[in-house]
Amino acid sequence: MKIAVKVNGSTYQRDVESRTLLAYFLREECGLTGTHVGCDTSSCGCCVVVMDGDQAVKACTMFAVQADGREIMTVEGLATNGTLHPLQQGFWDQHGLQCGYCTPGMLMASYALLKHNPKPSEADIREGLAGNLCRCTGYQNIVKAVQQAAEGGQG
């Protein structure tokens, strides 16, 4: 099927198999390998991207064809002109990552969370990120990272 997906501001027109997952479309057709795949059951959230500005979606659970005509933002689209997004800065400052594999999904889920709730409590953050697994950090510093970004007022 022929589709056109706007990813991080650029439109990608491709002819894809209808079974192609959005995650692999982003990784292999758009060359955006920051979106990771960590499970087969929509459990881990390594593949979370933001659709249409504020919707966190698991890119392994969407077909690329479902993203036809939509706007997708991946981790590669977070920084602007070389300046880190406050969430990226927060994860760096607060040691919110170790192996880095879950980090893109965590960042994008946090981005959508702050879009809907710019001043989340710790409980809000923990609930908002419950679809994203991390094996390294125990989440505590991830919560702090999101709080730092929220306190900066730039969700």
């Binding site: 459990s43 981790v75 893109p104 953050i125």
Partner: protein, 782 residues
């Protein structure tokens, strides 16, 4: 938390991580991110049966699938002499693709190579395999009977893999018999799985020079290179192993897996790059699991609570192949640490391991080779003993601790503990959590019928494998190495034989070099994981990086400093003996005004070195004189819902003593992560098999990883007792929280349930098990 170090103190500084900018921008470089022109994808056909004879494999339909280029089977590999690969433990071998029969569910049976991952999966779907099911051995106790022989390929016609023992069998038996108090408990440390979020995978190809380029998720790339050379017969210089960014490892990425061998064979046979990346299900069902130790723990004591003897007899389930990846002289790992933090005058430990129709493994999941099992056994055992004696478990531990002035302490099972101050570490934890107030509250809660528990674990680990006289893998001694080059401008590069999987080596290794040489850690680059450039090392697992490679880096830096001293003497126009290293600079003794910085010396080493050899670089291979013994005191507070059996972890305090800390931010992060994995093991995680050998936990909906919602808030603190033999005094920490915490959680739950008479629940302590224990206890009372 995030001070930036410059020239000056670097070790001990909470420096932000140098590797993070690429990870937070989606620029990490993981195996599955790699792509090469003409790359094929490999999919594996796996067995639905745990034990079956293979009558026939028909690949005809698979070859018709568009995009499929080749299918290989065990017979093809056997013909090429590649049917089996040695396990890292060295006493067994593992089928690459099933030959004649399958021995566990999800075993690799055939390999399909195709133009896309989807075509490979389509091809694998239609490989027709005819199986004749055989009787299944799903537990080690059935295996013990040898009624069904699982491995007729082996010389000894038995399912028994090995018997290992350490200590004084007769003396321990006598001491136990004559002890006025005695407890015994069967504990099963369940089968669990490290499940790093990035599954295992590789890309293999032969370059224009005929050299194997092998990108792989490996915690030990040099060992892979040597093992591949030995298995394939390819000369070792024609093998280039690159372990790029790893999305976690936790021991899972130590063994060599069949998919890797198939990818290499495919690349050779077809002449194109081959990528293999396993699915989560493949990861959980076929790669290295951990634990599965059935431990009978006995402790003897005097009436007043002095321990007299410890005996632990373990039945171990190793699955279909002995792929435990332990050092060759230690088939049961370093289980001998089971005497823990206590002065046992005599002890005996033995392990008997058996084959079963389950996935192979027994690897060290965030653990220094069976240390987690040992730590759990003794820390649960001490609580059961305290209960038996009617003594507070904290008081019992205190009475039996190795005292500060007893180090170096020779344990009953042969270790020489390097250092510790167990009383101080425990007191720090008790104070932080407010133990006295908690006991008071608990008494009040109990009076109301509420189930509140306090669980303590005061563990000692043994890490940093290891001294060459004892430790080797496939005969290769377990040293580690570092190579440092300081460039003319005072920037530099350090390469080590380790491989970070999230531990932050790019930051902490730079901090060590910066500290030793008075340079800016921001301009010290760290490179690992490339066997062409890194000096030979045994890799990162078993908390060995800082104890072994960290020491190698320190010693290499000190070699550079000695060389630099000669250049400094030339610059300062004095004799070398008149130059001293002070405040991160060289100065003329007694003349503080006459100084040169390392940066100035570095430039001179290339431009104005005087009579000295040009350049400024050094290599060091470090053979540790002893292991290191990190320890800690952990306290968990839980509330148990009597009606539904739900356990809530109200508080958790972890006080760790890992010796000198290189980066407190990184150490705290490691502790948070390890505690979360310990929490998962204590309450959620198990790879279960039914009696027919079916794996029941094949994905993340059945094998649970805690989310941000379940994970407790962690409170941490530290004591610092430097290791006397490590050049920095560091001991390693990555695994301590995972080793020490499961017992604290379970002790807390049992403490909560103790008024009902509950004495033990095997992990994972699920709501269902707790509810049943409460119900059984209450109905027993009624």
């Amino acid at each position: 938390m995030s001070a930036q170090a410059t020239a000056g103190q670097s070790v001990g500084v909470a420096m932000k991580r140098k590797e993070d900018p690429r990870f937070i921008q989606g620029k990490g470089n993981y195996v599955d991110d790699l792509s090469f022109p003409g790359m094929l994808y490999l999919a594996l056909v796996r067995s639905p049966y745990p034990h079956a004879e293979i009558k026939n494999i028909d690949i005809a339909e698979a070859m018709k699938v568009p995009g499929v280029k080749a299918v290989i089977t065990g017979k093809d590999l056997e013909a090429a002499g590649l049917g089996w690969l040695p396990t890292f433990h060295g006493f067994d071998k593992q089928m690459v693709l099933a030959i004649g029969k399958v021995l566990f569910q999800y075993q690799e049976v055939a390999a399909v190579f195709a133009e896309s991952r989807e075509a490979a999966a389509d091809g694998a779907e239609v490989v027709e395999v005819e199986y004749e099911p055989l009787p299944v051995v799903a537990d080690p106790f059935t295996s013990k009977t040898d009624k069904v022989l699982l491995r007729p390929d082996r010389e000894g016609k038995t399912n028994h893999i090995f018997h290992w023992e350490v200590g004084d069998r007769d003396g321990t038996a006598r001491a136990l018999e004559s002890s006025p108090k005695r407890i015994s408990q069967r504990m099963w440390f369940q089968r669990c799985h490290p499940a790093p979020l990035e599954p295992c995978g590789c890309v293999a190809y032969f370059d224009t020079m005929g050299r194997l380029q092998f990108h792989v998720t490996s915690q030990a790339p040099h060992v892979y290179r040597t093992a591949l050379a030995l298995v394939t017969g390819i000369a070792e210089d024609k093998i280039h192993v690159i372990s790029p960014d790893l999305g976690g490892g936790f021991g899972n990425k130590v063994p060599v897996y069949p998919g890797y061998v198939c990818a290499i064979v495919g690349a050779l046979k077809i002449g194109r790059p081959v990528k293999w990346v396993e699915s989560r299900t493949e990861n959980l069902t076929s790669t290295g699991f951990a634990r599965d130790y059935h431990m009978d723990v006995e402790i003897g004591a005097t009436e007043d609570g002095r321990v007299t003897a410890l005996r632990v007899a373990t039945t171990a389930d190793h699955g279909a192949f002995d792929a435990a990846a332990d050092p060759s002289k230690y088939p049961a790992g370093i289980f001998g640490i089971v005497t823990g933090s206590y002065t046992f005058p005599v002890a005996h430990a033995e392990v008997d391991a058996y084959f079963t129709n389950k996935a192979p493994g027994g690897i060290a999941y965030r653990c220094s080779f069976r240390v987690t099992e040992a730590s759990f056994a003794i820390e649960r055992g001490m609580d059961i003993l305290a209960d038996e004696l009617g003594i507070d478990s904290v008081e019992l531990r205190r009475r039996n601790f190795i005292k500060k002035d007893q180090f170096p302490y020779p344990s009953a099972l042969g270790f020489t503990y390097d250092s510790g101050d167990y009383h101080k570490t425990l007191d720090t934890a008790l104070e932080k959590i407010g133990y006295a107030a908690l006991l008071k509250e608990q008494a009040e809660q109990r009076a109301k019928g509420e189930l509140m528990g306090i669980g303590v674990s005061t563990f000692t680990e043994v890490v940093g494998a290891g001294p060459s006289k004892h430790f080797d893998i496939l005969g290769i001694k377990m040293f580690d190495s570092a190579e440092i080059r300081i460039h003319p401008t005072g920037a530099g590069i350090v390469r080590a034989g380790t491989k970070s999987q999230g531990q932050g080596h790019e930051t902490t290794w730079a901090q060590i070099v910066a500290e030793e040489l008075g340079l800016d850690p921001q301009t010290i680059m760290v490179e690992e994981g490339d066997t062409d450039t890194a000096p030979y090392g045994l890799g990162t697992y078993a908390s060995r990086s800082t104890p072994v490679a960290g020491a190698a880096i320190t010693m290499a830096a000190r070699r550079i400093r000695e060389k630099a001293r000669k250049v400094a003497a030339h610059l300062l126009e004095v004799g070398e003996a008149d130059v001293e290293w002070k405040d991160y600079k060289f100065q003329v003794k007694g003349v503080p005004a006459k100084v040169v910085t390392m940066k100035e010396v570095a430039f001179a080493a290339y431009t104005n070195m005087g009579p000295n050899e040009p350049g400024l670089e050094a290599t060091y291979y470090y053979d540790p004189p002893n292991m290191t013994y990190p320890n800690g005191a952990y306290i968990a507070v839980v509330d148990v819902d009597r009606e539904i059996g739900e356990v809530k972890v109200r508080r958790f305090v972890a006080v760790d003593d890992c010796g000198t800390v290189i980066n407190p931010m990184v150490v705290e992060g490691q502790i948070h992560g390890g505690l979360t994995e310990g929490f998962a093991i204590a309450f959620m995680q198990e790879i279960q098999y039914d009696s027919d050998g079916n794996n029941l936990n094949t994905n993340f909906t059945d094998y649970l990883v805690p989310t941000s919602l379940e994970t407790p808030h962690w409170e941490t603190a530290s004591t610092v007792t430097p290791s006397p033999h490590h050049p920095l005094g560091a001991k390693g920490v990555g695994e301590s929280p995972n080793v020490g915490s499961p017992a604290a959680f379970v002790n807390a739950v049992i403490d909560a349930l103790s008024p009902l008479g509950v004495r033990h629940i095997d992990m994972p302590v699920t709501r269902d098990k707790v509810w049943r224990a409460i119900r059984d206890a209450e109905s027993g009372k009624a």
